[in-house]
């Protein structure tokens, strides 16, 4: 693993070789403005993932799971944290977490955070 890898700074994080879809995402975050520009033109995605600019410098190593046992088990739909302030770490069924993309609107900080 590269000595300067910035993602493995927790004892609970296990280094492992990133799958292709994560290498692609990592390249988008780290190679901003270099290999993959907004005006890159026609994007050609191969049937197995993509071939539009992953140039190998995005790093083959990353952070493996499990990381946080709180979130790797099924949720109880009875949990109500919809206002973001009722409890810490509570979970709810994602209303659309499994149904397509689109950006999520940034939630304002709840009142408790503004004190």
């Amino acid at each position: 693993m590269p000595a300067g890898d910035e993602t493995t700074n927790s004892p609970s994080e296990v280094p492992y070789v990133l799958p292709k879809y994560l290498r692609f995402a990592r390249s988008l975050a780290l190679v901003s403005g270099a290999a993959i520009g907004i005006a890159a033109g026609a994007a050609v995605l191969s049937s197995s993932g993509c071939s539009m600019g992953c140039n190998g410098i995005c790093g083959a190593y990353g952070v493996g799971l499990p990381i946080d046992a709180r979130y790797d088990t099924p949720t109880d739909s009875g949990a109500d944290g919809s206002d973001g302030s009722s409890h810490d770490g509570g979970r709810q069924n994602p209303p659309d977490g499994s149904a397509g993309g689109g950006p999520r609107p940034a939630p304002p900080l709840p009142a408790a955070w503004l004190a």
Binding site: E6, T7, N9, S10, P19, Y21, L22, F24, A25, R26, L28, A29, L30, S32, I38, A43, V44, L45, S47, S48, G49, C50, M52, G62, L65, I67, D68, Y71, D72, P74, T75, G81, G84, S85, H87, D88, G90, R91, Q92, P94, P95, D96, G97, S98, A99, G100, G101, G102, P103, R104, P105, A106, P107, P108, L109, P110, A112, W113, L114, A115
Partner: protein, 284 residues
């Protein structure tokens, strides 16, 4: 309909049947980042009950894509309020348009699967106001949360789906969506590059963004990273038609945040790793 009762509105794939539709097709063709779907869906490849389930999933996706155009429309208003460069304003508006095109892609898949592409056009989501910070920081919060985080998670899930789905027609649909989503995710990091000098001159804003991320990570994890109570692993037939593995939502969310979002944000002096480790819905 009783007077005063709001009219029920529906969105379908139908166009206006005017020259506006010609212009729409021109714009759609110009902005499309890769070739459109050339294949035909073959229902003989899948059990009927799986096709029905896929149809319902794509209908939900159509609604999500359609609704999410509002997030970029609000983002466009915000970047205009702080007079960001024209390229920034234009690309944000383009991304709003992309989401409408995504709704059209979903509609095409629904119809190919034998369904009716018709969703209720109810009250659209609106972004909340960030009253505790300046307009510039509000824009940064909006773009980091919307593009660097949530769209990056979408990129990972779509890229994974492209590699897993067996049906060539559905794979083409995923490919079309992914081609735009990667732009939406990377736009966030391009924008941070544009604001780098501004951020470096204001370390208090970078610290404030780190504090905001503590809450934002926890909130987004509820929305995008939680496994539903009734989630179970997919069958082979469900995987073949591109249905998601609901038991994988937490894993893909955390993998994305740790391996892409955090290192990407930390390039700009935002302490995203510490915020992730201390993520919480309540302060303290």
């Amino acid at each position: 309909m009783p007077q005063g009762e709001p009219e029920a509105r529906w969105l379908t794939a139908a166009l206006s049947d005017t020259p506006i539709a010609d212009e729409y097709r021109f714009v759609d063709s110009a902005l499309r980042q890769c070739e459109t779907i050339a294949l035909v869906f073959d229902p003989a490849l899948h059990p009927p009950e799986v096709i029905d389930k896929a149809r319902r999933w794509w209908l939900a996706a159509m609604r999500t894509e359609y609704d999410s155009a509002s997030t970029f429309i609000d983002m466009a208003t915000q970047v205009r309020q702080i007079a960001e460069p024209l390229d920034v304003q234009t690309v944000v508006l383009r991304m709003a348009q992309d989401e409408l095109r995504h709704a059209a892609i979903c509609a095409r898949v629904i119809e190919a699967l034998g369904g009716e592409a018709k969703i209720p056009a109810v009250q659209l989501p609106r972004a909340g106001l960030h009253r505790d910070c300046t307009a510039d920081e509000s824009v940064l919060r909006t773009i980091i949360y919307g593009c660097c985080l949530s769209e990056m998670v979408n990129v990972v899930r779509l890229a994974k789906s492209v590699g897993e789905v067996a049906d060539p027609f559905i794979r083409d649909a995923f490919r079309l969506l992914l081609a735009d989503e990667r732009l939406h995710a990377q736009f966030g990091f391009h924008y941070l590059a544009h604001r780098r000098a501004w951020l470096e001159a204001r370390p208090e804003i970078a610290r404030s963004l780190g504090r905001y991320l503590r809450y934002a990570f926890a909130q987004l994890e509820q929305v995008m990273g939680a496994v539903p109570a009734d989630g179970r692993p997919r069958t082979d037939a469900e995987r073949a038609i591109g249905l998601p593995d609901l038991t994988d939502l937490s894993t893909t969310f955390q993998e994305t945040i740790l391996n892409a979002c955090i290192p990407g944000l930390e390039r700009f002096g935002i302490e995203a790793g510490a915020a992730w480790r201390r993520r919480s819905l309540t302060p303290g």
